[in-house]
Point group: C2
Chain length 335, copies 2
């Protein structure tokens, strides 16, 4: 049974997969694994994944059969288990929670060779609708304290399958990084009585030097204190703490800016590995005044080394103002 | 001029290398770089590094010439500059400090092919003496608020040269990760009136299941909430917040447990890439009751992906109790 364990010093929770027996040898050659020709996310292989949780598919097609355009299934090797109750217990001085949670995969397209940068705007929009639907369904479970939607693109970014997909992990605790954002935003709000993300949107659109793209509802920019080269955030212009409350119009404009930003990165950096993470408040966390949902995109171009791990302090060799300039230069027209 | 910039939400400082002009193309093939046959850390190439800051060498040898057994120089591409004053200024809503600091390289041996796991105990002891000497010298500068000593071993862990070396970065702010440890330890101290690290040493030595090696002064163990497979901490048994206060006897026993732990990892995992980070309080930070210096070793066996970046929450597929068992099984006898 997986366990959540808490670091007693900095209060970071980790998931320990206590039951997956792995020997040291399993780690040694893990990196040489080559993907097989078989893909469980292709049409016709639906029976090789766990059963469909939801799918967008024609009404006349059956569950777990071809025809879908977006499909959500449980992760075959879930990090957490929804059949466990999130009981808390102590182990001497340490704190533990039984490994309750969910771990889902959002298959973004039936096209094995597509990626989010090259999908149509319409298809990206459907994926965003799936995010919204899963978030709104899961946040009704009061045992779930946080829901993270994220994407690993490319082997260097942690993807084990090339077929374009994102993931969702729901946890019985608010993860450290998100709790820090919420606490930091709350502190800023107490000091200024304004949302820090709204202030960033204002300064970024005013200053313009770090902006990559902007439309009526969203702005994509390189954050002033970017950790990584070409790190890019997409932030809604109108204050909203919960992604689940996104409107149909906003989904349209979010899909356009998301696809365009990924396409700019794809073209400028030759389809680099990247991660993106959707940071959102969820129903039941009272941070609606000061928290503000957003998406963080991080191309994986540099290695994180001892200094970064040891200090939480990053060295970024690419000023965000230069990165924004390079990304703005890229055309998002179809070629 | 490099700049330190602060994230206004979670207060993480980053170093932006504003002057190193890099284009997107520079990132694309960066990973294919192959090390040249020339090594600036070999005997005879001393003139190709910045001048020696200190070295352990026979009295009859000249600075920047062969004969040394440990040598410290400035990093050729320093992330921070000791000739800049750490002035603070604002940029709209953002905070900036001019890029003051130092970035040094500790060359651990003249032997091009050695690594800390395979060096003699005596040679490791000399490296530890060099750490102590640099720490004690630099902490006298009141502009320096923190000093991090760390090591990147192997390309996957961020090392750009194979010749065994560690690094030191001194910064005008306390980095986020360290500030969190200090704050967490202070909170624990207020609650229990005991040091959290002392409590961990007690529970770990009592329980034994996560212990890798123990001697009179130190214990090496897998932390209960380990983020990574085979993550190992070395903690002094007697409370001490500042590594700079380490005694000659402790240096002896620290060198033995450090070399042995690295050798166990080297043998169990076939010389994996790893990072280690020395976390210590420094003179002038008043945390002597509750903070406790220690060394964290992190083999780089799994990829950090979107979930970890997005949440600060780690999935560890190797229970620390199993990892400790595997590392205890390894013989540290010379073969």
């Amino acid at each position: 049974m997986p366990e959540l364990r808490k670091d007693p010093i900095i209060k970071r929770w980790v998931i320990i997969a206590t039951e997956r027996a792995r020997r040291p040898h399993d780690f040694i050659n893990a990196k040489e694994n080559v993907e097989s020709a078989f893909c469980p996310f292709d049409y016709g292989n639906e029976h090789t994944t766990p059963p469909e949780i939801m799918a967008f598919r024609p009404a006349d097609t059956a569950k777990d059969s071809p025809g879908w355009w977006v499909r959500v299934v449980q992760n075959k090797f879930p990090a957490l288990d929804s059949n466990i109750e999130p009981e808390r217990f102590g182990h001497g001085m340490y704190d533990v929670i039984k490994g309750f949670g969910t771990h889902e995969v959002i298959i973004e397209t039936p096209d094995h060779n597509a990626s989010m940068a090259t999908l149509s705007y319409g298809q990206v929009r459907e994926v965003v609708w799936a995010y919204k639907e899963r978030l709104q369904t899961l946040e009704k479970d009061s045992r779930i304290k946080y829901i993270l939607i994220f994407k690993n693109h490319g082997r260097e970014a942690g993807a084990s399958l090339v077929h374009s997909h994102s993931q969702l992990i729901a946890t019985p605790i608010v993860p450290k990084r998100v709790a820090e954002e919420i606490a930091g935003a709350a502190e800023y709000y107490r000091f200024r009585e304004r949302c820090v993300y709204c202030d960033m949107v204002n300064q970024e659109t005013l200053e313009g030097t770090r902006v990559v793209e902007e439309n009526s509802d969203f702005v994509a920019f390189e954050p002033f204190a970017a950790r990584f080269p070409f790190e890019t955030w997409i932030v809604p212009k109108v204050h909203s703490h919960n992604f689940g409350e996104i409107s149909a119009t906003q989904i349209e404009s979010f899909s356009i800016i998301l696809k365009n930003t990924l396409l700019r990165i794809y073209k400028a950096l030759d389809n680099p590995p990247y991660n993106f993470m959707l940071h959102t408040g969820i129903r039941g966390i009272d941070e609606s005044n000061h928290y503000h949902w957003h998406l963080e995109i991080v191309p994986r171009l540099t290695r994180v080394a001892g200094f970064e791990w040891g200090s939480g302090f990053y060295i970024n060799p690419m000023p965000p103002e230069h990165a924004a300039m390079y990304l703005r230069e890229v055309s998002t027209e179809e070629e």
